[in-house]
Amino acid sequence: MRQVNSRFVAGRLLQVVPTVAAILLTGFVLVHLAPGDPVLVLAGEHGDAAYYAFMRHRFGLDESLPRQLIVWLGHILRGDFGFSYVYGRATSVVILERVPATMLLTGSALVISLLVAIPLGAIAATRPHGARDIGISALALGLYSTPAFWIGQLAIIGLALGLGSFPVQGMTSAGSDATGWSHSWDIVRHLMLPALVLASQEIAVLVRVTRSTLLDELSREHVRAARAKGLTALQALVRHALPRALLPVVTIVGARIGHLIAGAAVVEIIFGWPGMGRLLLGALQSRDTPILLGLFFVVSFTVVLASLLADLAYAAIDPRIRLR
């Protein structure tokens, strides 16, 4: 059993190599096949042909495609992902500056969603098809069906503009010289709305997953036996079913990381959160190819890594995979 498992693990790890290679190639081909010359953005209006040729040469845009690919791969191996046309700095530096903001947003959203979704899922599972279950399931499906940008718009109209309770945009108050705790508090105030909006999408999924895995667990023999010994439904759920149900939930979280980052990009754009999503939008407008490729690569790699971890965790807990 253990052998099969480790063979699965090794195989799964090996799979990562061609996957990453394919992602790199996909991104590169996509960006370079596209119409539009980055030099025109780089140089702005009023340039002349000689000037464009000069700038093109400076940024290596006059090389052949295979040669540009090799140069770019070299940059990746060196860890700088190439040189941003617009920022005039290494792409990796520009992207890394944005990572903390995105991680703060996605991390908070994840924590909020787990804190909200697991109790809700548990409440729903205690009495399937009861009034609470129907209410919670309907809420989850409703959230799952709502576009994130619309929740964002409604939140801005209702909470930020209507009540005036939340800042509308950005990560810190403009003009604030606050430091230390009040600075952190300032960030938390700005974080709340975007994090809640992003969390709503995750809550929708996690409630359903929690509920269904819990229902599965509750129907198992040992839980039934515990019930028979006089535990209440809630006690049986918390002591016996919940711990076993949590791992699949965490696994799903790992596997959904791509959705989470995509959602974060939209939320960042609506709320002006200075993370990778905004960078993506800017890079698209200015056709900053190295940034685009770098972002695509960073996101893809995160997804590959997370889905690898999720699959390994899943393999560790799902007997069907071990037995195969």
């Binding site: 010359d37 025109l40 009023h46 002349d48 700095r89 809630l234 002006g272 800017g282 407008q285 200015s286």
Partner: protein, 534 residues
Amino acid sequence: MSRSAQCWRWIGCTLTVMIVACTRDADRRDPATLVVALAGDPGQLNPAITTNGSVNTAASLLYDGLVALDDSLHPTPALAERWEIENGGARYRFHLRRGVRWHDGVTFTAADVKFTFDQLLLRFHARTRASLGPSLASVDAPDDSTVVFNFRRPYAPLLQQLDVSEAPIVPKHLYEKGDPLRNPVNIAPVGTGPFKFASYTPHNEIRYVANRDYFRGAPALSAVVLRIIPDNDTQVAALEAGEVDWLYSVPGPARQRLAANPRVHVIHTSMSLGGSNCISTLGFNLDRPWARDLRVRQAIAHAVNRPQFVERVSFGEGRAADAPISSGIAFAHASDLTVPVYDTVAAAHLLDAGGWTRRDSDVRTAHGVTGVPDGTLFTIGFKGMPGQMVYGDLLRAQLRSVGIDVRLEPLESAVFADAVFTARDFDTAIGSYCNGTDPEIGVRRMYVSSSIAPVPFSNMAGYRNPIMDALFDSAGAAMNLDERRRLYHQIQSLAVHDQPYVWLVETTNTQAYSARCHGFSGTAHFAATAECGR
């Protein structure tokens, strides 16, 4: 079930605490600090190597040009104390101010000026390179305080092109080594301007402090903070909340509200991020068979309701363009032209005459149009950058009523430039043509045949008329203002007659500032003379 009730109570409490806590505002700040909202992260702060509008906006306070332009765009002394125009306009001699120091203490000299032009502006600054490059023979520094510009032929508009937003002077001693595009000084800049660089937090804020030794006198403000707030509406909200003191541009829907707010003052100006005196212009691709017929171009000009553009696209700001040259260039603007007015009946007649007839369908079809097969539907493409698509939306709505179908094709700027100016693959396109302070800067490029080139915002229409070329040549070389006025009037009559473009809206810009501040100027150094109180 008491547990779950507890759980709900707990969630409720947390939310309440969060909301209550959020309503408190937690910032104190120095009243002599001006907070400015900036729409885009400039990425770097050397305006001599790029024409990127946000770099220019962000960095102007740090630098000076040889001359400055006052509120009415007349050249006034800056780094140059005085100047002489010699040789019938082919040589300019500038006498530099003495004792000016860079922010790092090094003395500013003529060598810095020569270096900035030779190594940066004429190589990397697309506008200066394109306008000065062809006529400029050399920039010389005969001594530490004299700079001489030698031209191949008389060049009238030079003084308009030497202010800080067109030709900022950067320090030679920091840029002479290595690649200027990747020089770390670009994000820790050193200039001569009224403010000194203090810090730059990418995507968040840039901080400047007052230059106490500024040669035109120390600014009253102690610091300027440029906050990067990409969303227009948020900028407005921040101004209303007192978090920000200055907005470079107020979005249309918010203008009325701000104008009614006693804590905010507004300024109307012809300056915008892209330049000054901009006209949103619809260009015909004259290479297309349908667009070669003057009657069809005139018909479209008649079908366009320009006041409606002003009302619904610019929210009442700016004015319907009534001439090819902006009214902001007062000496050259012709106010007595007969530009086609909104008249759908006239448009329909012209279209019928041009062979585009309306039978039973909504959209006209071709019957005997040269170069177009009979029965072709009159569907024309409209290319523009995403921010300009609202013009297309309204154009589509207006042309639908005369039987022309408009297909919108939004393109990101790089692709737009490529498709329109390089491949010339478009039917009509929209461009914001900033006329600048002189027709030589921003008008010539739209009409002369030599600027039909793969260069963004050159002669979009592909218009060529030898008479027009000759008129521009005379106007550019004429040194006498009356002579130039007469020539530009002829140019505009000819342009209206040939109608290669439809001039839609002279866009203006609304700036807004907190009432606790005053003394802003309309120049690039808008904050140098400002003061802020509590």
